[in-house]
Symmetry: C2
Subunit: 496 residues, 2 copies
């Protein structure tokens, strides 16, 4: 009997580290779905305790020692990815001094209340000093994380979207903003307004529909469950991937598209390679790729004319009379375009405009080119320019998202990466699967799921996100397919 | 600014340790209530990971160092209890070698399957070799834990019931076995058999009744929730105490008494002193005291003639027609006595006989006086002697409980301590509260809850269990009140 190798020791350590991270995810899931109100303070203690031990695991100096002792040439590609990823996680943990980590944790925890109260009163000034602190701390964090020559914002962005840089993102986003603004303007010029029927649907019926949608989109109920949450999310991986939805009695789309969206995330996680479970390579390729799976299900399929054929029947069967005249009317309502103030309620035409402005503003904040005190004015100016709408108050403007209060800088653009990848993937999928629309109109999503399993899910984190998309579609990802998809779809919808 | 004191460092460390233990409890709760089937293997990894870090926290040598540096005289009584408890927890952790801890964890984990399969086939021989291993490991563990001069079983027992010894337990249990056997025989001699009506009640109605019962028994819904579980249990403390119940469509008592029982546990935990949250002193006095709170609610109150007045009305209102002629018939059915084979289905007369035989058998196993190979025969002989019933097979006999397969030796007697304490507490409560029965017959449990809050709940773990009971009732706990309560109750029920 000889001592375990450095490789097996590192693997065992990462296994434990990933298990602790999963526990942290379960605590959050429980908090959002089942925890009783008075459990909040104990949950904060528990979250701090698990974060402390998870951090200690990530920062364990033996990770670097084991890594040094491993012969890279003897490793399989997956083992090599896991080794690199373990080192990346370790570097991030050790580069941030304990003082900064604890200041960030404390400030963002406290900021939640401050942000919520400021939003309640619609007073940005109440939140500005706290946000200024967060920006300062994030700049400090970015400086710790940045490789030599890497920009501050790039260091933050890279954590969510490996290999992504501001330069690449700007190139990618470049054509998007004018195209979207132009499309939105042409739609607005039609003067067409689409109203929802406002029919009320009981919660139990809506939940039954959510379950049916998840099933149709390939969700494995032996490896998950559905609950309600104020802000729907999915969590977990492989054999335990949980989804949530939200019910608006008068607007069934809330539940329908939340359920389909979260199922997209969940089916990705349920389809991760089992043999990479509890290794760093057995994870999503990036946040953008994750989002592409949910968006493709939600938008390219879920809001398509073909799917509305099936969805109309399912709604009438499960919910009862919906007030829609037929699949065509349902499709028009599910795709109605309005220059609304809120990102989370945005249609496909406006959604990325919301993201692009946040991306620009947060980059300027991190660069130090925009002072927090000037953020509200900058927000309102940009919003007026892109949406043609005056922001009535900060609650519906600069204070609407939770992200910045939580210290999430560099996260917003991944939503648009997701939309861009989704359009790329769907175009390639359609080319590969000639009967796709016919299948979708029957509620048969299996061909699409099979294609995604093969092209995306089974690869875990083995490839960088742009390389993965390129492997799937045959070229580097760009905005062409997204713009073409939106142009074609909304030209038909609004007879442009 | 000076360095934190040893006391505050120890307190912070124990806070973290307790938070990790709470997380472990949440993982178990989730596993029993919400986890999807395919989540089991990842959950095993997560449980192992949290146990490893919790163990490292308990075994941290700084606990002993900090404790040494603390001036005991400067501490409050609660701080002293927390210090002693921290050291006790620490000693237990460091006394068990890693090799033994891991052998115990592995063997008991694997034993679960072996036990379940053996029970399925009703073949004790299939489980005996595994049980022999577990007994050997538990003997080894007990030897590590025992203080000089302390017996092996005492070392195990003390962990669940601080200060309890075999000698004390034998003295306590001495009069119980003949008294119960005699009472059971007299009841059997009446030839009276009570049947249940067998009316079916839908799950949603039964759950509504469980919720109403929990409310009536003082459960704070802001600090908890109710779910279904195969084996009902409660978990958590203070602001997050969750209960579970189980539904038998044809036997509403399953749900009713599970709900009341678990509410008893939960109301104890919800009533812990808030100022001792996340300290070792802010916990139950013992497993026996915990069980006394559930048993008092379930039996002394829940199965009383007075409570059946209210319960009958509640059942008819919430469940619909029950098939009982009235409160009197309900009371007789809720207290029917039958010498059944299973502990978990036992009535109040037989329950402690089940425990006493397990107590005797497991002591002999740990002492080495009974070989595992002879356990089934010893079980069956003892059962025939105490219950007058031949055990038809091992599944309904020696294999019925999960405890031994999980390495729980020294745990069974705490069920009887709970019954003994419950009778003591209820007798004293009745003496203190003259209008108690009248209130109970109206479904008003508040006076009883108030009494328990004052006498038991608010004391946390500040006193040893026997001292706590003595403070509450005015004398050292004994079996007199339990025997008197059972004699009086069943004399009336069976006209003895």
């Amino acid at each position: 009997m000889h001592a375990p190798s450095a490789q097996s020791r590192l693997a065992e350590h990462m296994r434990r580290t990933i298990a602790l991270q999963q526990i942290s995810g379960l605590l959050s899931w429980d908090q959002e779905t089942h925890m009783p109100p008075r459990g909040a303070s104990a949950r904060a203690e528990q979250a701090a305790a698990i974060e402390a031990v998870a951090h200690a695991h990530r920062a364990d100096p033996r990770i670097a020692e084991w890594a040094d002792a491993i012969e890279r040439d003897t490793l399989s590609p997956a083992e090599r990815v896991s080794l690199d990823e373990a080192l990346r996680i370790h570097r991030r943990a050790v580069r941030i001094p304990a003082r900064l980590a604890s200041a960030l944790a404390r400030t963002t925890t406290e900021a939640h209340e401050v942000w919520a109260a400021a939003r309640e009163k619609a007073r940005f000034d109440d939140f500005a000093p706290t946000l200024a602190e967060i920006v300062a701390l994030k700049r400090e964090e970015a400086a710790c994380l940045a490789e030599p020559g890497q920009g501050l914002y790039d260091a933050l962005l890279d954590d969510y979207e490996p290999g992504m840089t501001v330069e690449k993102a700007e190139r990618l986003f470049g054509a998007l903003r004018p195209a979207l603004a132009d499309l939105a303007a042409r739609i607005a010029a039609t003067g067409v307004e689409v109203a929802l029927p406002g029919t009320r649907h009981a919660e139990d019926r809506q939940l039954a529909l959510a379950r049916e949608l998840a099933t149709v989109f390939g969700y494995d109920w032996q490896a998950g469950r559905l609950d309600l949450a104020v802000h729907p999310f999915s969590s977990g991986t492989l054999g335990d991937v949980r989804i949530t939805t939200r019910i608006d009695p008068e607007n069934p789309f809330e539940n329908i598209y939340a359920a389909i969206h979260e199922t997209g995330h969940a089916v990705y996680e349920q389809g991760m390679p089992e043999e990479l479970a509890f290794t760093p390579a057995g994870a999503e390729a990036s946040m953008g790729v994750h989002e592409s799976q949910s968006r493709l299900f939600e938008n390219q399929i879920g809001r398509s004319r073909a799917f509305c054929d099936w969805l109309f029947g399912a709604m009438e069967r499960v919910l009862g009379p919906t007030g829609f005249d037929g699949p065509e009317a349902l499709w028009r309502a599910a795709n109605r375009v309005r220059p609304g103030l809120r990102r989370t309620e945005a249609d496909e035409v406006h959604y990325n405009l919301h993201i692009l402005m946040r991306f620009d503003l947060e980059r300027e904040l991190i660069a130090g080119d925009l002072a927090v005190g000037d953020l509200e004015a900058a927000w309102n100016d940009r919003f007026a320019a892109d949406f043609g709408v005056a922001v009535p108050d900060a609650a519906q403007g600069v204070l609407q998202d939770i992200h910045w209060s939580a210290g999430l800088f560099g996260y917003f653009p991944t939503y648009s990466f997701g939309n861009i990848y989704a359009a790329e993937l769907f175009a390639a999928m359609r080319a590969d699967l000639p009967g796709l629309d016919a299948a979708i109109s029957q509620g048969d999503i299996a061909p699409a799921i099979g294609w995604l399993r093969e092209k995306i899910h089974r690869h875990g984190r083995l490839h960088a996100p742009d390389a993965l998309i390129e492997m799937a579609v045959g070229h580097a990802p760009g905005t062409g397919p997204l713009i073409a998809y939106l142009e074609a779809k909304f030209a038909e919808l609004y007879r442009l």
